[in-house]
Symmetry: C2
Subunit: 431 residues, 2 copies
């Protein structure tokens, strides 16, 4: 078994209470074999990497998105959620075929890998395509076929069959890098009995549930008018929270809803960039954290962000709640970064990812800290949270395999993907 | 006279109503000689640059900061403004000598140039050092010796002499790249009669005034307790607004104060990153824009940001006011980018900067748009505002001279500056 030894590096393990230190890290097969302050002796077959000028930290975990929608980046901006969805996104998305989903997902996964994201959640259709790209690209994916239930009954039924087959077939594939979930798109896009059927499948397959929840105020109000209860109680009654569950957005939760989420260990994927851009509002993250909810971070799709830079989501999470609450200690730097690493991993049931620790999976990234915007080299947690960007990532490892070296992705053909993504959008717009 | 011809580039002129186009741009001496869709014939002595894969746009204008404070990046975070100032910043700043200010300014100017900022405002002390770095680095600087008046009278008087001498000596130097202003630090750090003396000097030298204004709610409340009026009316009565004036922050302005600012053409330097990080609040920028105020963007110092990436300030300006107001059309992408280019330049009285137009000064930057996060190449204004970062800048020209080529600064010694900045902080902390 070959070993990768990174020496002379600076390490940020993200283990609570552990300081940044100079040292080494050894990868054996898919795991971190050891990490510490003085490098081990040379062994035959070692790959030795000089980590001088680099900060090594756990790969970032993006807990909500729709990778294929990168094809629609910049297609509609400065519009309200419903207008953006109904007039810009849905008409073009309705034309997406399997090849579009493949290239859109390739483009997103390429961007994510180059920017230090090593695990991501994806909710979309044509998920076999996405899973195949995950398999070949080497990234870790928690994937789900998102289903909208308001459509002709045979179509709705067919989607359930497809979603179940996808979740069952792919769970645990690609050496365990792929996990799956079941996903009703949102309470407002699925009839209650349809959601119950999805819960039953999740129960049968023993899988978690992912859904959009209370993204906009209008959505919550319409829900109350239609059902007489708020969306969280609605999902609770439908049994959604009897399964492990992660909800995207969760912008408009009142105190009782926070308590329901806490009682059922419902995890929140906070998507600050998307929520600000679509003017959906600002999630009460400091309250969620105080209540003990697991709050992670997601980019949402590149169509509403408009990049997949998780450092930016970390920074937004650290900044906006300070500004809005008037409390400069709200969401401190380490908490924000944990949301994108250790907490992000736990939020999607990846117990062996998100920390640099012996025995954990070797999902890690290197950041070029020998740049002006990281000087002086004072508090590196602060520097990463308040000054870093995706472009500072130089090297990425997932499951012990190097996927990005010196800012070049080794597993995806960047030139082909960029060309095909532009061609795909041209076709979608002209057809 | 040698000409620089950029051909096969993509151009975003920032002229209102003008679309992005493929074409060329010619620089002659310090100015844009022509810009258009088909390149001119080759002349002897031409430097021809292939702009394929690049977006050219006006250089960014950072209208508020304290460059030397980059030495204190990451020294204090997640603290309230007064605690941060009194316990972290001021004790270390009190030890700053001329050499510290020089290297801190070099570090900031290096970071700004590499990140596409071609003009910046600086308010600090030891300003001769800053001006010399501006002169040699090639950047454009609008500089002012910020003075705090609450100190022993002889010290206060000496500062005025120094501030006046600096403003007088350096205005128009470095081929006009340096302009100067007079700067009472803030209403809460200067006695009224001291501010009046500064106004008199500004009047004598025919220079604008720069000051911090209403950054925190507490500051405004204390002002009202002390003077019985709010800070804007206070400055108006002291004659500050009889001079051309740009105020930093302007977070807490009520309707009457907006009207006073409008009536006196007081310009606002909006610093969203710093305001969020220090939990100072969120300026009512959509209202300021509706009132017709000139609102530009500033990073503030790297100690409260913690980088000098103006793309990030553009994005924050475009995002947070949508999220807070619930209006997804608030501060549209083009407006946000104008705040950092054409409006930024006008805000600091640089009438020949901020647009790519024949006759304007040749302050321009190139962005590598051949990267995954800019694909597909749909709406490039949207891409720059919602997806770009400082690290995407490859080339920078100021006054017709190339200062950054292929991400390397040609006028500042990056390795020396990084080393000296770390040494300077070590000394400050240990002395």
């Amino acid at each position: 078994m070959s070993r990768i030894v990174i020496e002379n590096g600076t390490f940020l393990s993200m283990v609570e209470g552990e300081s940044v230190f100079r040292g080494y890290l050894v990868v054996e097969a898919d795991r971190i074999a050891s990490i510490g302050e003085s490098a081990p002796a040379q062994l035959d077959g070692d790959v030795r990497i000089d980590g001088h000028g680099k900060l090594y930290m756990p790969g970032l975990v993006n807990t909500h998105g729709h990778a294929a929608m990168s094809l629609l980046r910049g297609v509609g901006d400065d519009l309200a959620l419903q207008v953006w969805l109904e007039q810009k996104m849905w008409p073009l998305e309705a034309k997406f075929n399997a090849a579009d989903v493949r290239v859109g997902s390739e483009l997103s996964i390429l961007e994510m890998l180059k920017g230090g994201t090593t695990s991501f959640v994806d909710m979309y259709s044509f998920m076999d395509e996405v899973a195949q790209v995950v398999e070949t690209s080497g990234i870790r994916g928690c994937l789900t076929r998102g289903v909208i239930g308001y459509c002709p009954p045979d179509e709705a039924a067919a989607k359930l069959v497809e979603a179940r087959a996808f979740a069952k077939d792919w769970h645990g594939r690609a050496d365990g890098r792929i996990t799956t979930m079941m996903a009703p798109h949102a309470p407002y896009t699925c009839p209650p009995e349809y959601i119950e059927k999805i819960v039953a499948i999740a129960e049968e397959l023993q899988l978690p549930i992912h859904t959009h929840l209370s993204e906009t105020r209008g959505e919550v109000e319409r829900h109350e008018q239609q059902y007489g209860i708020r969306p969280v109680e609605h999902l609770r009654r439908l049994g959604v929270f009897n399964r492990p569950c992660i909800v995207a957005h969760g912008v408009h939760l009142n105190d009782e809803e926070i308590e329901i989420c806490r009682a059922h260990d419902v995890r929140i994927s906070h998507n600050p960039g998307s929520n600000l851009k679509l003017a959906s509002g600002i999630a009460r993250v400091p309250e969620y954290l105080r209540a003990g909810l697991l709050v992670s971070l997601g980019t949402d799709s590149a169509a509403s962000n408009n990049n997949l830079d998780m450092f930016e989501e970390v920074r937004l999470a650290a900044l906006i709640h300070k500004g809005v609450s008037g409390d400069p200690t709200a969401v401190p730097a380490f908490t924000a970064l944990s949301m994108a690493t250790s907490i992000g991993a736990r939020s999607i049931w990846l117990e062996e990812v998100g920390l640099l620790q012996a025995g954990m999976k070797a999902d890690l990234i290197a950041i070029d800290i020998d740049q002006p915007h990281f000087q002086p080299l004072t508090d590196l947690v602060s520097h990463i949270v308040y000054a870093a960007a995706a472009q500072d990532v130089t090297d990425v490892f997932v499951d012990g395999k190097q996927l990005v070296r010196n800012r070049q992705c080794l597993t995806l053909d960047e030139e082909r993907i960029k060309a095909e993504a532009n061609q795909a959008l041209l076709r979608l717009r002209s057809s």
